[in-house]
């Protein structure tokens, strides 16, 4: 596929940009934060997004989605990144729907995907257990008991946990901690006995959850995919999740950069606008170059999902590592070039650095993905 946007995609991008710039901006995020909103996003805005079809944007039409593919979803995520729009697009649309598509049987897909596409169900992945993304290290266990599984363990960093209807819990039904083999994916309804969900507010003012699973009993029919064999689908889902997060980070970085360049043209010191100083110009120009590379690798990775390319894992880690690097640089430079005002809560640029870091660390940070990129490249 050529590395350009089709007319349909350009229209989607523009309509997402228009909607989010009106309904889900940094000012809205600030309001959610200051009102201590329990779910961390605005339900009415999410209902409007769902009404436009965004909840099913990458879901095939046969399951009630729009069938725009991941390139389409990536364009919306990029705009969400620009506006720091809080919504379940990442947790439910990007990640849970993908994992269900990857692992679910036809009954599960036929039931769950249309419910997600309609915006009726919020489903989220419960994977991480410690401070770092390390899926093979999963220790939460699921023991077979008759027609049920009994799950015990704990989970951290579960996106949108406070508002989720269901969780997809990754648990070990076999193998040892550290192994890919032996992991299973189980659907757990939020109301199941033995499951406790505690809200944790992150620096980006979004909510994640800490889950404790104390002998949580679910029917074996809740298993997604074969027992002990979730790795393939989980791994591909994580690749797609990271490409989606890279798209969000692209929008975030470009917006932080553009706001910074605008500021460089306005702020005067020593009787001149500070953007006339070469010390700042060259740093801005270098960052511009990095942002162009970032845009290209994200687009290539999004296309690779839709084209079913073999090299997806390598491109996913490449895109995430590159965007972690660029987002870190863009957000740090944004604060530095804004000077003192960039340090104030009143000014909006600080929201960008905070969301950037959380998104960077979600499902593997720069170090994780650069290491994986090198391994997949044969060194």
């Amino acid at each position: 596929m050529a590395l350009v946007l089709t007319e349909e995609q350009v229209m989607l991008k523009e309509s997402a940009a228009g909607f989010l710039a009106e309904k889900a901006t940094v000012a809205h995020l600030r309001k959610l934060r200051d009102s201590d909103n329990a779910q961390g996003f605005d339900s009415d805005v999410w209902a409007e997004m769902a009404a436009m079809g965004w909840a099913g944007i990458a879901i095939p039409e046969e399951f009630g989605g729009l069938g725009y593919g991941y390139t389409g979803l990536g364009l919306v995520l990029e705009q969400a990144g620009r506006n720091l729009s809080a919504s379940p697009l990442q947790s439910t649309v990007l990640i849970a729907a993908t994992l269900i598509s990857e692992l679910g049987n036809s009954e599960q897909k036929g039931r769950l995907l249309p419910a997600i596409a309609a915006g009726e169900q919020l489903i989220t992945l419960a994977l991480q257990e410690r401070g770092h993304h390390a899926p093979q290290q999963t220790a939460t266990s699921a023991r077979r008991d008759g027609d049920d599984f009994v799950i015990s363990g704990s989970k951290l960093m579960v996106l949108d946990a406070a508002s989720a209807n269901q969780f997809i819990v990754i648990a070990r039904t076999g193998g040892d901690v550290g192994q890919q083999q032996g992991l299973s994916a189980l659907l757990v309804d939020a109301a199941t006995a033995g499951l406790s969900v505690e809200r944790r507010e992150m620096v980006d003012s979004r909510n994640v959850g800490a889950l404790v699973l104390d002998k949580v009993r679910v029917p074996a029919a809740n298993l997604l995919g074969a027992e002990g064999d979730a790795w393939g689908g989980l791994s591909r889902t994580l690749d797609i999740a990271n490409i989606g997060l890279a798209a969000e980070l692209l929008g975030l970085s470009v917006e932080a950069f553009e706001r910074t360049v605008t500021y460089l043209k306005e702020r005067k010191q020593f009787g001149k606008v500070i953007g006339s100083f070469q010390g700042l110009q060259h740093r801005a120009a270098e960052l511009f170059a990095e942002l162009e590379l970032a845009r290209s690798i994200v687009l290539q990775a999004l296309h690779a999902i839709d084209d079913g390319e073999q090299e997806l894992a390598l491109l996913a880690s490449a895109a995430k590592a590159k965007l972690c690097e660029v987002a870190q640089r863009a957000s740090n430079e944004a604060i530095q070039m804004h000077g003192g005002i960039g340090m104030t809560d009143e000014y909006e640029i600080g929201f960008f650095i905070k969301r950037a870091r959380v998104a960077q660390h979600t499902f593997g940070d720069y170090n994780y993905h650069l290491d994986r990129f090198a391994l997949l490249s044969g060194f």
Partner: protein, 393 residues
């Protein structure tokens, strides 16, 4: 069979038949490329055979029109030709500044007579060209050039000095920026003229570089005649041509940033070894190589994206402004990593243990990439001003 598929079959068969075996081996650095000219430097007789056979089909410049010695191929056919050449590891038959720099400028700005006079000789490799741009006091600030051209009716009389003239001592003709008028701003009054390096009054002196080679010269003009029939475009309007040509030069230089066949990571594993997980044994070097390879991948994606956008009629985007800067910086990084990966094997001048000195010479030569054709700092100035719209100090 589609027309393109038929073209591929025919091309494959022709290349199989006509590309000499010795021309199916990798070139050892710049000096091993065939540049043509009145007195070509020939390391192997097949170089000229290969060039002549390709030129007869117009395939030294496959995308140029046939009337100027080109192959008249469209973009898809050119791509097929390149793929088929790569398939048998065929060398490029002819590399010259005539093809990469002057040709595009002549096609764009030259008169019909000028095109018919000069382009076919470039295509056949008969005339080797050099570029007279930089002067001792006009480097990054190229427009302040002072080489004087005095109007003498049917010709100009040229006096002055150029520097960093690539291969001036081996070239037959020069495309040269001269000052025909001093009265206006420094960008006005510059003219673009062509003349024969064998003309009386031209002398060249090679400059030996840190890499040991001498690709550049100082070039002196003492009452040299340049005929007005070889003035390209209008008198005094040469700056636009100079800039147009520089974009082609920068494209050529940024091409050095393309990923090499064997990755640095693999080379390092062969030289240093890996642990039981398959990771390069030195973790610090491994990280730097991974960063380089990541940027190389993203840079290649950017070249592809800009190409695809242009093909889709979206014009040459702002991204193209980064090519020269980023490509040359990448190439410098790669050359430093070659040294880090190969160790002292990469520091000798010659000998089989030292890979015949190729790695060390390429490393030293790469330092010039971010200076020639506009320094990295000048490129960053251009991005700041023209793309980001930041004001002058």
């Amino acid at each position: 069979m589609s027309d393109l598929e038929q073209f591929r079959q025919e091309t494959r068969a022709w290349l199989e038949e006509n590309c000499p075996e010795s021309m199916r081996t990798p070139v050892k650095g710049f000096d091993d490329l065939y540049n043509g000219g009145r007195n070509p430097e020939i390391d192997h007789p097949d170089q000229k055979v290969w060039c002549d056979r390709m030129a007869a089909r117009g395939w030294t410049v496959p995308h140029w029109p046939k009337e100027y010695g080109g192959g008249g191929l469209d973009k898809e056919q050119v791509k097929v030709l390149r793929q088929e050449m790569a398939r048998i590891n065929a060398r490029s038959p002819l590399d010259s500044f005539g093809i990469s720099m002057l040709g595009p400028a002549l096609l764009h700005f030259g008169s019909q007579e000028q095109k018919l006079e000069h382009l076919p000789k470039i295509a056949r490799g008969e005339i080797r060209w050099c570029q007279g741009y930089s002067e001792p006091n006009a480097g990054s600030d190229l427009a302040s050039l002072a080489t004087k051209a005095e109007d003498k009716g049917d010709h100009y009389l040229i006096n002055g000095q150029k520097i960093w003239t690539s291969y001036a001592d081996k070239s037959d003709w020069i495309f040269c920026l001269v000052r025909t008028d001093n009265s206006g701003s420094k960008h006005e009054g510059i003219s673009f003229v062509l003349f024969d390096m064998a003309s009386p009054g031209v002398t060249t002196r090679p400059i030996k570089l840190i890499s040991g080679s001498s690709p550049f010269c100082e070039t002196f003009f003492d009452n040299v005649k340049a005929y007005k029939s070889n003035l390209i475009g209008e008198e005094g309007k040469g700056w636009a041509i100079a800039k147009y040509l520089l974009t082609h030069e920068r494209e050529m230089i940024s091409g050095f940033g393309a990923a090499p066949k064997k990755s640095v990571g693999q080379m390092a594993v062969e030289a240093i070894g890996s642990d039981s997980s398959g990771r390069l044994a030195n973790g610090i070097l491994r990280q730097v190589i991974a960063q380089y390879q990541l940027d190389t991948l993203a840079f290649a994606a950017t070249m592809a994206r800009v190409g695809d956008e242009a093909k889709a009629g979206q014009g040459l985007g702002a991204a193209s402004s980064i090519f020269k800067y980023y490509g040359t910086e990448l190439n410098k990084r790669r050359n430093e990593l070659n040294l880090a990966a190969l160790g002292e094997q990469a520091l000798g001048w010659d000998g089989p243990e030292y890979r015949d000195g190729v790695v060390s010479r390429d490393w030293l030569r790469s330092k010039g990439n971010s200076i020639e054709g506009g320094t990295s700092e000048v490129q960053l100035n251009i991005i700041s001003k023209r793309v980001l719209g930041l004001p002058d100090a």
